[in-house]
Amino acid sequence: MTRPFLSVENLVVHFPTPDGIVRATDGLSYTLEPGKTLGIVGESGSGKSVSSSAILGLHRGSSAQVSGRIWLDGVDLLSLSDREMQQRRGKDVAMIFQDPLSALHPYYTIGNQVGEAYRVHNDVSKKAARARTIEMLDRVGIPNPQLRVDDYPHQFSGGMRQRAMIAMALINDPELLIADEPTTALDVTVQAQILDLLQDLQREFNTALIMITHDLGVIAEVADDVLVMYAGRAVEYGSTRQLLTAPAMPYTLGLIQSVPDLLSDVNEPLKPIPGNPPSLLDLPSGCAFAPRCTFKHLVPDDLPDTVMPELEEIAPGHLRRCHLQERDLSKLTPVPIGELA
């Protein structure tokens, strides 16, 4: 049996703090193939950023306790030494971050920082690195790259900066690209351009893409499959179409319903999810979402409050972690698609 290209198995990331252990991620598993996009949806405290940083090994050197396996093209990244991981970082797997202004060093030129990513993994002259940098800046749509390569980050606009970050991440043609909220800090028109760019580049280089976001609209446009995270665990996983049209877990439904879109009824109040996300120091013993779940009453006994549900497959490729019985799933429907358009 061939293993999937990327396979995260039972990833656990805990941070010991003076106030207790913060369980950022507990037993997370998912897979991804080259050329495909996995969207990871979650709010603050869901563990989406932490688990993805672990793929890059960014937790090394900190106090984080990490266990589980992360298979990338047959190699368990967590078993590598620090030096081996460092050699792969930025080369086989790369990451782009949310705020390109703070993610770039203000004192060095764009050319210096992008070229640096190339030079650390390839033994080339400065001149060759500069040429490659200009080539990449051009490829990501930055006008006049041969001039702008010597500019500093603060001289770029937000969208241009993010393009430069993408150039920096893709300059070594990585097999896996992780984008952590890449468009959240950008204007909507620029956001659209960046998403288009990412998809073009993904098609051209056949990169596997993990898109971390809280914006379901972005997920709908870009992701093939979706992983919904809550309180450090995967609570639903499936194809985008499945999840958005027939969610199998109240939190997913809540996310879909709480976001207004351009077609919803303005006279109806929005349907927020009541309450607040839990603190990762003090997770409830049963289902983490139970305190906020409006469907809790449909489950017999006090199951949601006492027992943590397991991740189970309810349809091919569609998993969920919920006590709600299959017969009640039909109650979890967002507005049917047929009523629109």
Partner: protein, 310 residues
């Protein structure tokens, strides 16, 4: 017919660009707000949408007189407050209030929630000391927080709760107009809806007028019956909600609407047609280029090398 609550006429805000020669001189202006006009009636809401650099936040700050406009009129209940002095503005601060974007930095971490909400009561001295606590607790309840928590500090609350505190503070003096500058952008998605619902309820119950500034077109549509679109300091379109969203007139509005990632539309027909506003790169480049050209000219005069920037 009585005058509208707020009438803004030809409002402009120009920030000077200083040359970097030996003696700094003003060589041009950044026209953050360039001749903006609109009205808001009592109890009504106007949405102001735009992207970064459109001038919408600056407009909000001009209305609350955190800035003094370069020119134009701001008529609040018929009186022009555009050039009023600080003393003249003081009673006005009861009537016009602002809600800020970032709940993590807009509350003083060293003050208790009670002190934050009660501060306007102390400054304006309308309520005697004994009544202040009661009013604070009343407000906490109105925004959905536990009235017994007035002695807690901001860091003990979540982001959504902090934003509620900010709203309570704005409501202390029963203002007639609330300027909400991106009130939910910094919050988690599931909390955004809670706050929007709260603001809608407050508006209905207390009859407060809103200037709702945001970049999220879907949220603005949900909250405001009237929406104005800003681009490079000017209002390019101002229409009732349904008209604007279903039949946009201006090319920029069309491009903006087409760029919104819409989940349901994506499910219906995949990626939708993206309308590019060709003018956007050129126009912003044009105004920036004009400013840069002026700067370069001054620098050339002073014989200082100046880097060409695109």
């Amino acid at each position: 017919m009585s005058a509208p609550l707020l009438e803004v006429k030809d409002l402009t805000m120009h920030f000077p660009i200083r040359s970097r020669g030996i003696i700094p001189r003003t060589v041009g202006h950044i026209k953050a707000v360039d001749g903006v006009s609109f009205t808001i009636g009592a109890g009504e809401s106007l949405g102001l949408v735009g992207e970064s650099g459109s001038g919408k936040s600056t407009t909000g700050r001009l209305i609350t007189r955190l800035y003094e406009p370069t020119s134009g009129q701001i008529l609040f209940e018929g009186h022009d407050i555009a050039k009023s002095s600080a003393r003249e503005l003081k009673p006005l601060r009861r009537e016009i209030q602002m809600i800020f974007q970032d709940p993590y930095t807009s509350l003083n971490p060293r003050h208790t929630v009670g002190e934050i909400i009660g501060a306007p009561l102390e400054i304006h001295k309308l309520v005697p000391k004994e009544g202040r606590l009661r009013r604070v607790q009343e407000l906490l309840e109105i925004v959905g927080l536990n009235p017994e928590h007035y002695n807690r500090y901001p860091h003990e609350f979540s982001g959504g709760q902090r934003q509620r505190i900010g709203i309570a503070r704005a409501l202390t003096m029963s203002p007639k107009l609330l300027v909400a500058d991106e009130p939910v952008s910094a919050l988690d998605v599931s909390i955004q809806a809670q706050i929007i619902n709260l603001l809608k309820d407050l508006q209905r119950e207390m009859g407060i007028a809103f200037l709702f500034i945001a970049h999220d077109l879907a949220i603005v549509r949900h909250f405001c019956p009237q929406v104005a679109v800003m681009y490079l300091g000017k209002i390019v379109e101002n229409a009732p909600r349904d008209e604007l969203y279903s039949n946009p007139q201006h090319a920029y509005t069309k491009s903006l609407l087409s760029a919104v990632p819409d989940m349901r539309q994506a499910m219906v027909g995949g990626r939708r047609e993206r309308i590019r506003y060709v003018h956007d790169v050129e126009a912003s480049a044009a105004s920036t280029a004009a400013a840069i050209a002026a700067k370069d000219a001054a620098a050339a005069k002073a014989k200082t090398p100046s880097k060409p920037s695109a």
